[in-house]
């Protein structure tokens, strides 16, 4: 089980959270102009990175806020936790202290503004 460091509540068990898939996938700016191919890309195609992956999590049974996280999809090390709307922090990250344990990067100290809604607001 992952130990996830919610920016508002601190470290909690994975079971308190809800996975929201890839982060930084903006809703199309001009939806009416999209071709079928572009709609397919937006709806069904997501990165499936083997390695460091930027993803969204919802602290569903805690503060009920969305936030972003960088996690290694092979080791499951959590490399950074950062608010919605903030660009993906640049690598490299120090190796996590403990496999499967949250080791929050510098960006995680940024306070989560209450007005930050998930980009695209899907899911």
């Amino acid at each position: 089980m992952l130990l996830i460091s919610c920016p508002n509540c601190g470290s909690r068990d994975e079971t308190e959270f809800h996975y929201g898939g890839q982060a930084h996938v903006p809703y199309p700016e001009n939806p009416n102009d999209l071709t079928d191919r572009e709609w397919a890309e937006y709806l069904f195609y997501r990165d499936n990175t083997k390695g460091t992956f930027a993803e969204r999590w919802l602290h569903s049974t805690g503060c009920r806020q969305w936030f972003n996280m960088l996690r290694d999809t092979v080791t499951y090390d959590i490399q950074a936790v950062y608010p919605m709307g903030v660009p993906r922090p640049a690598a490299p990250f120090p190796p996590a202290a403990d496999t499967g344990t949250a080791s929050t990067g510098a960006a995680s100290t940024t306070p989560l503004s209450p007005s930050t809604a998930p980009e695209g607001a899907t899911k």
Binding site: M1, L2, D13, E14, T15, H18, Y19, G21, D36, R37, W39, A40, E41, L43, F44, Y45, R46, N48, T49, K50, F53, E55, R71, T73, V74, T75, Y76
Partner: protein, 406 residues
């Protein structure tokens, strides 16, 4: 047929040749699907100058990590057609491959625990019958008769309100299935090359002409990807994307028990599925981890959840010990159906997205994918499962019948 005899040791079932510098076709991935594809390429299409490249050991991926359940009671016509074709092949394969992999048609029950489940299940029984798939609706008493250790009291959290039942469904010894295909492939002249990881592709314009591996570059006219959890990694190397997400999925076994569990019981709602292996272990599967992962290990809380459900449904399991747990990496799609067909790269074909349920599809996946690779065109059974469906919107939404939520 089931002689219950253990077959030969795998070392003697195939050779371990060095890779040649060129092949007519290369199959990436030595799981069940890759091996079945190679077998049908050789048998049905006379293509024997071919190789199966496996980065680890034969069937070390999902093939020998799954819970071995075989059934064809899917909802939609397209799925019923391909899975039922697979089941018909399972029924003749032990003879055809001259190898007993202990296919046991002990039946599968899919439990219903809510009124919604009941309605969905009855609808599926109707759909199955229309498609020539054997299916029945069982009331709780009939469920109990088939599997006496099931708790059908209505005072539990998720009472058993009935079940769909497919009598021809069952289980097979998965590693032996892989060995059976591998042995025949070898006999037909296919090179099975283990410890050979594909690390890139050689292209001439938009056409694939070779694969790069940790054992050198191999020229080839056609490439078939059968890499389950790693399909999107390979697609990325080839320069295209797949609508696939890889998730850990785990299973576990108990120590050996006397025969107590005569059939296969699955519950989509409480997320446990149980059968008893030929030797006597209780084999149990769970749901996928919610997050993407390639780590071949799953979360403990998923097992906890699964065990709670198992003990409530089967009170006698309360004192059984877990012997082993393990994980595989399954490649899921948003409509819970596989992707089989051509890709944006010429002469490169993909068979993936079977997610949590592709073991049962192994023979039909191999047969139809071999057809696609040999002819460059879809087989009528895999045509609906082409990559294009995500663009056309002709999705095949099998979440209800897929049995593992993902």
């Amino acid at each position: 047929m089931s002689t219950q005899q253990l077959p030969e040791h795998p070392d003697f079932l195939w050779h371990n040749p060095e890779p040649k510098s060129s092949y007519d076709a290369v199959i990436v991935g030595g799981g069940g699907h890759g091996l079945a594809t190679a077998y049908f390429l050789a048998k049905n299409h006379g293509m024997t100058n071919i190789a199966v490249l496996e980065k680890g050991w034969l069937a070390g991926g999902n093939m020998a990590r799954n819970t071995t359940i075989i059934r064809s009671n899917y909802l939609w016509d397209e799925s019923a057609a391909i899975y039922e074709h697979a089941l018909k092949l399972w029924e003749i394969l032990p003879e055809e491959l001259e190898y007993d992999f202990l296919f046991s048609q002990r039946g599968v029950m899919n439990l219903a625990h809510t009124l919604g489940d009941v309605r969905e299940s009855m609808r599926r029984v109707g759909a199955n019958k229309l498609n020539g798939v054997d299916a029945e609706w069982l009331d709780p008493q009939q469920v109990k008769e088939l599997c006496p250790i099931l708790n059908i009291n209505d005072n539990i959290r998720y009472p058993v309100m009935g079940a769909t039942y497919q009598p021809r469904a069952g289980i097979a010894k998965h590693d032996h299935v892989a060995w059976a295909f591998a042995r025949k492939c070898d006999e037909l002249g296919v090179d099975i090359i283990q410890n050979c990881e594909v690390t890139g592709f050689v292209k001439d314009g938009n056409r694939v002409v070779g694969v790069k591996t940790n054992r050198g570059t191999i020229n080839t006219e056609k490439v078939g990807l059968c890499a389950a959890g790693h399909s999107s990694v390979l697609a990325e190397m080839a320069g295209f994307r797949l609508p696939i997400q890889s998730h850990p999925l785990q299973a576990l076994v108990s120590e050996l028990h006397e025969p107590v569990h005569p059939t296969v019981v699955m519950s989509n709602h409480v997320h446990v599925y149980v059968s008893q292996a030929h030797k006597g272990e209780l084999v149990m599967g769970a749901g996928v981890d919610s997050y993407n992962g390639y780590g071949q290990r799953g979360s403990f809380h998923v097992i906890e959840h699964q065990m709670a459900a198992a003990v409530e449904l089967f009170p006698i399991f309360a004192r059984a010990h877990v012997l082993r747990t393990w994980g595989g990496i399954v490649d899921t799609t948003l409509d819970a159906s596989p992707i089989v067909g051509t890709t944006p790269v010429d002469n490169m074909f993909v068979n993936c997205g079977w997610g949590t349920g592709g073991f049962k599809g192994t023979p039909a996946a191999g047969l139809t994918f071999a057809h696609t690779i040999a002819t460059g065109a879809p087989h009528k059974l895999n045509k609906p499962f082409a990559l294009e469906r995500f663009e056309t919107g002709a999705l095949i939404d099998e979440h209800g019948a897929a049995a593992v939520a993902h």
